[in-house]
Every structure is written in structure tokens, then in C-alpha cells.
Amino acid sequence: MRLIKNVGDWLEQRLQLAAPIRETMEHPVPRRTASWAYVFGSAALTVFILQLVTGILLALLYVPSAGEAWNSLQLLNHQVSLGWFIRALHGWGSNFMIAIVLIHMVQVFLFGAYKFPRELTWIVGVLLLLLTLGMAFTGQVLRFDQDAYWGLGIGASIASRVPVLGPWIVKLLLGGPIIAGATLSRFFAFHVFVIPGSLIAFVALHLLLVLKLGINEWPMPGRLVRRATYMKEYHELTHADGLPFVPGAVAKDLFFSGFILLAIAACAAYFGPFGPSGQPDPTIIQTVPRPDYFFLWLYAVLSLLPPSMETPALLIGPVIALIVLLALPFFSGEGEKSWKRRPIAVLTILLVAVAMGTFTHLAGYAPWSPVMDAWSGEPIPTRYLKGRTALERQGALVFQAKQCHNCHALGGAGGERGPELDGVAVHLTQDQLIRQVIQGGGNMPAYGNNLNPAQTTALVAFLETLYPAGQEPARDASRP
């Protein structure tokens, strides 16, 4: 014991850190901030540290080379003892990190914490969000599989739409004319050096600001923020009715951080690591690239926007969103903090959450993508074939052979790009069916060049049998 004390004294004489550390730990915070609503910031920091540690562990074996990265991930997954678990921790840590950062942001927004004098804390927080998303995207690239390869292609295609500079930005992004070794190397540099370095610096600044300005007090409806009086009011709140951060408020942070780490470990152990999916070989085109969970909403937006709006939305939308977030504390720096009296703030959160949730849900089954193997893998339900004429059955063959099933569902199976056809004969007459098949239209290609008259006749005969029991097929009223 005496030795430890002596070493401690020796260090303290030189570092002189004991007093500032004690002061920081015991700084007074408003009593009601010792709450479960205030644990997300510290949890984000905890997960960030987990990401740093697991990231370094992965870097011990990962090879950032386009030719070798995929193999080194296989090695980690299958040959290195518990390599799969470290990969899973890092992957699940990434998902949890984004979720916690977003919850933290929502809490801070609803509690009015971005108002005077914490504007800069909010702005640094917005930059931290961008850096976190940057880590997510670059991390997805380092898992150098088919999804990563084609995801880079999508990123390059978006960047190429920037007016005038687009082609140069693409080459800078890819490090050359194609997605290849230089691309992976520069994403590695960003994921491992540039963004984490910036994250550490900005996290330090964020924490420094929290310490200098104090944690945001629990908002009371009607207690307005005024620049002239706020500092004095906050000082009274913390010193008259406050409690020291350690041990007063830190307990809930500790329990929640521990719980989150345990949850990440449980997910990692139960679900395992993410991928890698197929090899990043562009000549393997039998692939259906999908983005990671947190970019699914973007995938949905890119599929659902009208084509003419896509480029403006892609290039201007993020800029507007960023400006709004950065400017928020300046046009709403004073006044009411409580969410109970800020209905527009609450509605904004609800709207964004519902929109993101809906887009993510849609992207989970991607109704806009053709099911590329439905024509050969999904049979036509037997009830649509029993008791049919030879011509109608021939039409069912045409339906499969011409890949109609890739975009149109029958009996709940097949693509959802076009309408499902189980009841198509109720809506369209024979003439309308022929016209639609031959000319296309609405989002359907024209098949006039690819169907001979006999095939068209058979296909339409089959489609005319598709109406539910108890309903009449559509009739042309002008004919007897």
C-alpha cells in the first residue's frame, strides 16, 4: 500500500492532476438530471471506446487490399480463435452507436439543450453525427464484399451528379478510374485514421463544453431561457439544489453503459458478425446489393423519388438538412425548453421518425426491385392451372418464360414492382390487357418486340382467367 501511495505522490508532484480531476468529478449538476433520460451521451462514449478497442483488434489481422481483404475477413470469421466474435462486437457496436447517438440527439432536442449557452455543444454534436455516419459508411466499405463494391458504385454515381466537378469527385473518391485497390486503401485511411482522429478531437471538445457550461437542466414548462439571466439561474440551480456528478448522478450512467455493452455482446454472440457476403468480384453479376441497416431509408428514397427530382434531392437535400441543424440554436436560442410547450418540435421528431421508419421498413422488402429469379424459382399456383384450356396453360408458360413473374406477384409470390395479377381480369378487359402487354406504360416495358402474336394471345388468355371466385371479369361494354 505504501508503495502505491509513494508512486501516486511521485506522479502527482509532477502531473498535478489530482485537484482538477476531483473538481471535474465533483462538479455540481442540477438534481433532476440524475435521470435515465440523461444516460445516452455517456453510453455513446462507452460504445465509441468499444469501437476503438475492437477496431484495433481487427486491424491486427485485416488486410486493406482489394485482392486480400475479403479473404482476411474469412480468416477472421472461420480460422482465428474468436475472430468472429470481435467482428460481431464491432459490427453490432456500430449499429448500437448510431442508434444511441440518434436517441441522444432527440433527447437533447426535446429538452431544448441546444439553446443558449450550449449552441456550440449542439454544433459539435451535429459534426459528431456526421462523423459517426461517415464511420458507418466507410466501415461498410471495409467489409469488402459485393454489397460494399456496388455500394461504392452507388456512392460514385451520386457524386458524379454534382454539376461540373462530378467526374473529378468520383475519381478522387475512388482513387482512380474504377473501384479497385486504391479505393479500399483510401477508405481504410479514412475509417482508421482521419475520421476516428477527428472523432476523438470533437468528442473531447464536446465533453469540455459540457463541463464548462454544465449539463442542461431538466426543462420546466414556463421557465424560459433568457441570455441576460440564464447563467445566474443555472448557477443557483446547481449550487442551491444541486448534487455532485460523482457519485450523485453517475450511477445511472454506469448502469446504462454496462447494460448497453452487455446488449452488444449478447447480440454479437447470438447473431454473429455481419457478412462478408459474396466476393467483391464485379464479374459475379448474380448479386442483389443492399445497404446496411442505417442507410436503408436512403435506398428507399432513391427508389421512390420521381427521376427528375432525384439529383436535386440528392445534392441539395443533405445541404439543407445540415444547414437547418447547424442554424437551429441561432434562430431558436432562447425561450421555452420543455417539450410540453413545443408542439412543433415534438411533431417534427414524430414526422422524421415515422418517415425514416416507413422508408426503412419498405427497404426491408424492396417492392421496387424485380425478384430476379422469380420466373424460374416461383411456380404458378396450381389453382390457376387446374381445369384450364391448353391455350391458357400455354399462356402461363409464356408468363414464366418472359419473366413477367419477376415484377408481378401471383398467389403472393414473385416481384412487387408491378401490380399483383391475381385479380387482373376484374380490372382490365381483353383489349386492355393486349394493349398493356404490347405497349407497356405506367412503369412497364413494352413487350411488342418480344412476343409473337401466338404468345400474346396465349398470355392474354391466361391473364383473363385471373379473377377471384364470386367476381365477374371485366367486360367491354361496347360489345354484346
Binding site: 485482392g67 456496388w150 462530378g166 468520383v170 479497385a180 453479376i285 432513391l302 419473366q403 418480344n450
Partner: protein, 184 residues
Amino acid sequence: MTPSDGLTRRGMLMKLGILFNAAVAAILAVPIVRYLLSPVIRERRPGYESWLSLGSLGQFPAGQTRLATYRNPVAGPADGETANIPCWVRNVDGQKFQVFAINCAHLGCPVRWFPQSGLFMCPCHGGAYYSDGSRASGPPERGLFEYRYKVDQGNLLIDAGEMPTTGAPTARLINVSGGRPPCA
């Protein structure tokens, strides 16, 4: 030496020191920026493109569309399989060819050819193209990217080397109207 005039020997030396470091930084910045911009400012002209063989004409029967691959002309030892680039070769009538990039004109996903229905379909956002590469339906605003080709000594050659994207100069517009072909 009066402090009131604002110019002291020490102050002057410090300013000179800052100026000196700024000058050195500027000199160092030139090679650094040039290094960073190397993917854009290439010495070799013109750009990354060169004529590449896709193989003999016999591999591409008349009236059919086949997948071909080539090794990208600009490739390093670390590129592995990523420098093997696929493309679709359509032999229109035994004389005339069309060579399409694999990348969808929407956001670059790999399009697949379905000979039965005569369509290229994209697995990502649902773009579809006719056999001549023109847009059929979905989010793309134009037809497939098409490489220039030539036939030399019984081999099919294309002018390639750069991933085509919507905004890149190598992306040649082949169907300006974006609509379906006349009399379809």
C-alpha cells in the same frame, strides 16, 4: 526601443518567423496537393481509356447478347479481382455490335440480361432497358452506357478503362428521349 510604436525587435522576429513557416508550408503544400489530386491529374493522355480486346468475334453469335469481361487497363498488384470488369456485348446482325457497360445508368448496380423477355433488369432500384440499351422503365433517366467498339483482325475491341457514371464524360448518351422506342 519604445513599445508605443507597436514594432519591437522581438515582435518583428516573431512575425518573420511566422511568415517563414507559412512560406515553407506553401512550398510543401504543392507536392502534397499534387499527390492527393493524382487520380484526377494524370500524366498520360488521354485519360484512362484504351482499346481492349474482348476476344474473337466467334464468341458473340449474331442476334445474341453475351457477357464479356476484360482486365482494366489501369490496374495495380493490389486490385485483385476488382480489376476484372464485365460488360454486355450485343451482336445486332452479325455486322453491327453494341457493347453496354454493366452499370445501370441510375446508380451503377449490375444489370442482368434476360434473353427471353429481351430486357436488361437492375436488381437495385428496378430500372429496365430494352435489348438495344434504351430505357424501358424505372428510375433511370437514360439508356445504358455504351462503349465505343471496333473490329480488328477478327477481335472485338472496346474503348474502356473508366467506370461510367451519370455525370462522367465517358458516359455516352444513346437515348436522349428516354422514352420507349417508336412503334414498340
